[in-house]
Each structure stands twice: as C-alpha cells, then as structure tokens.
Amino acid sequence: MILELRDVHRTHGSGAAVVHALRGVTLGVRPGELTAVMGPSGSGKSTLLNLAGGLDRPTQGGVYVEGKLLGELSKRQLAALRRRSVGYVFQDLNLLPSLTAAENVALPLELDGMSVRKARRLAVAALDEVGLADLGPRFPDDMSGGQQQRVAIARALVGDRRLVLADEPTGALDSQTGEAVLRLLRARVDAGAAGVLVTHEARHAGWADRVVFLRDGVVVDTSGPLAQAEELLEPAS
C-alpha cells in the first residue's frame, strides 16, 4: 500500500458549530491503482485528499504514506515527504507566471535541495512525458489552458513521486483535452504510482480502477472493475 487511511475522522469547529467532514473512512491505494473519489459538494472529498497529502491532520485515525504514519512525522519530515513522494494536481494550477514551464516543474525539486542542473534535467523529462518537450522555455501566459494543465501535471509527476493526488484535474478543459489529462494520470499510475482522483464527473471517474462514493463523510459504496467486459454487451434484439 502506498496510501492508507485507517478509520479516519476529521471534524471542523466545535460545540454547536461542529462539522464532521469525514466519519470513519478506511481506504488503501496500491501501486498501479487509481482510485476515484466521487461525491457531492460537502461530502468530504477534498478533506480526504488534503489528509492523504499531509496538508491536514485527522482528528482521529491514521494516514499512512509509504508505510509512514504521517501523525508521527515532524514538520520537517512531513514537508520532505510531501516534496519527494507526493504529487498534487489541483484545479487551480498554481503555476508561477514569472517562471518558465521548465522552471515551474523543477521548482519542487530545487526547493528540496537538488542541484539546479539535475532538477532541470528531470523537469525536461517530465515535460516530455506529458508531450510538452519543446515548451520548456515558454512562460505559462504564452500557453493554452490545456498546455498549462499539462505543465501542472508534469510538476506533480516530476522526480520519483509514488503518490499522485488530483483534485478535479481537468478543470474547465474541453472534453478532448480533459481526456488527455486523464490518460497522463492513468499512464503514470500504470507505471507504478498510486493515484487518487477527486471528481464529480462520472466520465473522469471511469478512468479509475475503483470508485469510492462519499456521502456526508462516509464511504457508502465502492465500484471495482468488472471481470468480464462481455457482461456489458447486450445481445441484439
């Protein structure tokens, strides 16, 4: 298991204003597995993703990344784990406009103390992986929305991140470009990463191996893959 949530609870506020964002969620994601989390607004999807990425701490229960219990890590250890092992793709791309595509992608590695030269080399490889090999020197404002989104994905995948967390990663992209983004995510997971995709679009969740349905902070059902595609094919009538 690369990611494991064990009986995770998260409450916000207290007293009469208490909100139970998650109420006892248990979930594991293996290497090579993409899990989608679906649910309406307020069902706890984003809270789950923030906990998985160590951006938030559970009120109760444990979150494990590569076997490490995040609650037992120091701030410094947690920050290092986030930089090295976890890649994030958010709807809001958070690309720095004053840096080129390659510099944006290399940034997390450089922040982690890697030499600029090595970081740039890995950044170019990551841009190549998302089909933007030639656009490294370009600034985000000079790229299309789809290209910017791919830069954000390259930044999430750069280096050897084994856990990729995506929150509505296709944003407002058209269906073809959005599909290209999901293919990239799928390819990285097929290459051995573990992925969690938060989405309210069923068509995007369709790319996952498993779909977890969240309602009011509780997992109400899980859809795994079918063994036989033939079961879906209706005979002609």
Binding site: A202, P225, L226
Partner: protein, 193 residues
C-alpha cells in the same frame, strides 16, 4: 437501431453473404452488438420479401450473396435522413423503477439509487478501459460507439445524482397505508414513523 437498416447499409458497400454480413456488422459496432447468424438470415429473408435486397447466384463455396435493390437504397437514404424518434426507444425501465420505488411501502429509494449508480459506474469504468486500451490507430466507428456508451452511462449517473439530491431536499411522504378492514393496533405507530 434496426438490424434491417444495418444490413442495408452494409450491402450498399457491395454484395455480401450471411457470414460476411455478420462479421461486418460486428466490426462496425465494435462487437458491442453481437449478432447471431440466425438473426442475419431471418432479416435477409424479410428484406427480400419486401423487395429491398435480392439474392445472387450461389458462389463456388455454396454461399449465396445478396445485393441491395433500388427500393432498398431509397429505404436506406430515408433512414439516414430521418432522426430517431424518442418514442421509438424502449421505455426507460430505470425511471419507472425509481418512480415506483417512491410509492411502494418499505422500499429504500436511496439504496435503489446507489445500487444502480455503482452498477452503472462499473460499466463506465469498463467502457473507459476498452477505450484506453485503444490506440490512435483504432477505427473511428468503434470509438464513437464506445463514446456513445460512455456518455449514456455518464448521463444516467448524473440523473441518479440529481434524484438523490432531490430526495434529500424533498423527502417523499411515507407511502399511504392500504385501508385496513379491521382496526389496526399498530396504526398510530405507522403514522409516527
């Protein structure tokens, strides 16, 4: 879609015999619609009866090809020119099931919604998997058929989400009890539940 028009469309490419028609039909629908050879021959004989195709002499292999006739071409052109009527489609069993679930005592409507959503999601995952396996070289007809199934499954899930949200906003009143012929000692309990 009718098999009838499917076969006419295939015969417009040139004469074919039964097994060729079946193979071509399945190829053009990406095997999402398997046909048995009996259906092909039954349909061919009806088309022949209606004058839309005609049999050709048997070939050396003993197979009898069919060719499309001019009335068959007219029928095919008419089919392509006419939108599919929504009333010709089968009634939506799922919508009817949910409507009945709301008015049937003792049915957990949210569970019906969730069960269907999980099943439809599984189908959507499988269609997506079939699609993701395909490379750019895959033929366009098959991709479009797959996309159609993906969009239909997605629409169904969106509708189920909508139903669930509506159930939460407007919880259905408890189903009306069937009038009892004798006084029901638990009646008051029922009305309070």
């Amino acid at each position: 879609m009718s098999i009838r028009h499917g076969l006419l469309a295939l015969l417009e490419r040139g004469p074919m015999y039964g097994y060729q028609l079946r193979a071509a039909f399945e190829e053009s629908t990406g095997t999402t619609w398997p046909l048995n050879i009996g259906q092909v021959y039954t349909t061919l004989s009806r088309l022949e009866r209606d004058g839309l195709v005609r049999p050709l002499p048997e070939n050396d292999g003993g197979q009898r090809p069919y060719e499309i006739t001019d009335p068959g071409r007219d029928e095919l052109a008419q089919w392509f020119a006419t939108p599919i009527s929504r009333t010709d489609r089968p009634r939506d069993e799922l919508a009817i099931k949910l409507a009945l679930a709301l008015t049937t005592p003792g049915v957990d409507v949210r569970a019906v919604v969730q069960t269907q959503r999980t099943a439809t999601m599984r189908a959507l995952q499988e269609y997506t998997r079939l699609k993701s396996r395909e490379t750019e070289t895959v033929d366009l007809p098959w991709r479009l058929v797959l996309d159609a199934m993906i969009f239909q499954a997605e629409a169904e899930i969106r509708w189920l989400d909508h139903c669930e949200a509506s159930l939460m906003r407007f919880p259905p009143p408890p189903p009306k009890a069937v009038p009892a012929t004798a006084p029901d000692p638990e009646h008051s309990e029922v009305t309070h539940s």
